[in-house]
Point group: C2
Chain length 411, copies 2
């Protein structure tokens, strides 16, 4: 597809109108990479057209981030300054719509010591957590992606830069349902209605647990949370009643399982990009609800650091079902980007769960939600387990089994 | 000249080592346009190599600024939020080195109503002023420029974009004394020593006033401030004794005249880019030290708004002498950018003066400096009067005249 101004405007519009669903008078915080300033400006303009009061753009710059990590002391980088806290306080007051345009280099920080990344990330997230908790579930938010030359070359190493950019554009626009002919807003309505129906079916089944098996070695049971609903695609901001779609693309039906109640081994089917580094060919074994051992061909030590981030980082916060017919999976591409790769197949996440899936969950503190079985942690890391032959059975309260997935898709 | 990585690194190095003269342990605030993120990253790395503790990059984006002005309410734009004030407080504490890489579109905001630009600028500057006053004279700072396609095409409208960029690069590198062969740090030492000698001569003369005449209609007398010294090129940060060069290029020997004491008419010899709009073919007449009337072929109303910004905006804060042999003038280019255009020829500035030219001036508040005759205002706007035939006489206390400039250059 030729990437015309019209296509870019169409993409910007569906992000703002369907994804974030910006309402008149709202503030918007838009995070974007400096190399995408032209598209970020288009998105900002669409926000204003939708009636935004103020669009605050937070720029990131991969090569600069690398320079900071290379030269700045860990202690200096870890410190959150008073003005940064004042900015978070402003967000608690304004409850801005949050938008993230991802377009970075997946390997930007590959040369940086894991210990430094972990120390800085943990220190800053601990300070930020109460402010994030205070806005969590009260804001619309959306994450989308744009190709960048370095990302495109990572995904298509054998193509020229121009070819790689074109292929990545084509793949992204296909998965976010934007083309020359269609009305993306209408297509997204149909798609999210269908996904909502799947979530409703799962909610009616009231499964006690899910049991995963695959010839790759996966044999795993996770207890579901009787209080937590299944969700899909569309969410609602309880503050103003606006529907929004946090991820574009989105193909997952998901819930938060009962924190600390799962057993067995999950074998990952795709690499995991964590703190800009890759973990490859790995499996994680759980006992009494916690990750207790893991193996990886590459990045094994990263898993250890990840699950030690805090008390509950070794417990699960998310279970998500994605059929192998997902458009993301049909591209056949490993995007090295969770936004896409998690929408290619079934996955789970270590760390924080989704308290908004509990009744009145948005009014609960993270500690209160944890008392209702929804995990709380400073991390949330998705990893993929959707093998071609994946079977998932729903376990009813009386022990009867209901096929949910067979051969990697809805049974 | 071919713009190689080596040339860019050489330019970045002379900016950091000679311009800002970053010292070990200092914080740096670097302002740059998003379209120059690669060069900004080079400069940040040079700062860290010089021992900077932390480099905070503040990104600007011209097309986004325009969108903000087009859609955001004046009231919303004018408000300085608590976190922005906290950031200014942090600057008062850290006294960071300030660096600005200009690379914008001179016409970025040309479509925006002057009233809106003025109202927003005034409101934000009024809040920022006490914080700026608290750091003024206690920080090293440097302003430099990089070509951007839109600026290059503005300067060279008849060239292709590539040709225009090359010509603007050549002009900038010539004026900042960077080429393949030279040692820019040594060349800058020689240049600033020479300029220092001119300033010393003027300080020894103790002129009471300067009298300007030109065939273009300029006939103007300004009373000098007996307490204020003449300065040139190099300044010293009294906090740490570090020498720095606020402007690169720099060709001016300057002082702050006695605020509110000048008479006659100055005819501008170059257009003035003010709030991203052009004022062309203008003259300003002063009586009893204040601008009282003005004429312009274009942008006349902007002059009126400028001198009405606050009580002292109609008074002069700067008198600067630049010979017509200046490298900036020799390029023959109108840069549409004061950093260059003010270093092409003699100029004066409406608005704030330089309190650091007073004895112990850095310890004075702006009000105290005003009591010593150095103007105080929220604006500082340079305009050029350096005609080819410009004569300037120094008037001694006994009324004798000493030629300072003849035919646009040192007598």
């Amino acid at each position: 597809m030729q990437i015309t101004k019209e296509i870019l405007e169409k993409y910007a519009r569906v992000i703002v109108k369907t994804g974030a669903n910006v309402q008149p008078g709202q503030c918007v915080n838009l995070a974007a990479n400096v190399n995408q300033y032209a598209f970020a400006t288009l998105v900002a303009e669409e926000c204003y057209r939708a009636g935004a009061k103020k669009v605050n753009v937070e720029w990131s710059c991969d090569p600069l981030s690398k320079v900071h990590y290379l030269y700045q002391d860990t202690e200096v980088m870890s410190e959150t300054l008073p003005w940064e806290i004042a900015k978070m306080e402003q967000n608690v007051k304004d409850l801005p719509v949050r938008m993230l345009i991802m377009s970075g280099d997946p390997d930007a920080l590959a040369d940086i010591a894991v210990e430094k990344l972990t120390a800085v990330g943990r220190a800053r997230r601990q300070v930020a957590k109460p402010y994030r908790d205070a806005t969590d579930g009260k804001e619309q938010w959306v994450i989308v992606a744009l190709p960048s030359p370095v990302w495109a070359k990572k995904v298509f190493p054998d193509c020229s830069e121009d070819e790689a950019m074109q292929k990545l554009w084509d793949a992204i626009l296909m998965t976010v349902r934007v083309d020359e002919e269609n009305d993306p807003v209408a297509d997204w309505k149909e798609h999210t209605d269908l996904m909502g129906a799947k979530a409703n079916w799962l909610n009616q089944q009231k499964f006690k647990a899910l049991h995963y098996t695959s010839a790759n070695g996966t044999d795993f049971t996770v207890t579901l949370n009787p209080e937590a609903k299944w969700g899909a695609a569309r969410e609602v901001n309880p503050v103003n009643g606006a529907y929004y779609i946090p991820n574009m693309p989105t193909e997952e039906v998901f819930t938060s399982p009962l924190a600390g109640s799962c057993e067995g081994t999950l074998v990952a089917t795709k690499p995991l990009s964590y703190q800009s580094q890759l973990i490859e060919d790995f499996s994680i074994t759980f006992a009494e609800g916690r990750a207790v051992s893991w193996q990886a061909r590459k990045g094994e030590e990263l898993i250890g650091q990840m699950v030690a981030m805090d008390e509950n980082a070794a417990k699960l916060g998310e279970v998500a079902l994605v059929p192998k017919e997902s458009p993301v999976n049909r591209t056949g591409i490993l995007f090295y980007n969770t936004l896409f790769d998690e929408n290619a197949c079934c996955h789970l996440a270590l760390g924080a769960g989704f308290k908004e899936l509990l009744p009145n969950g948005n009014d609960l503190s993270p500690e209160e939600a944890l008392a209702h079985g929804v995990n709380d942690s400073i991390i949330h890391v998705d990893f993929m387990v959707g093998s071609e032959d994946l079977s998932i059975d729903g376990v009813k309260a009386d022990g009867t089994l209901v096929p949910v997935f067979r051969n990697g898709t809805w049974a």
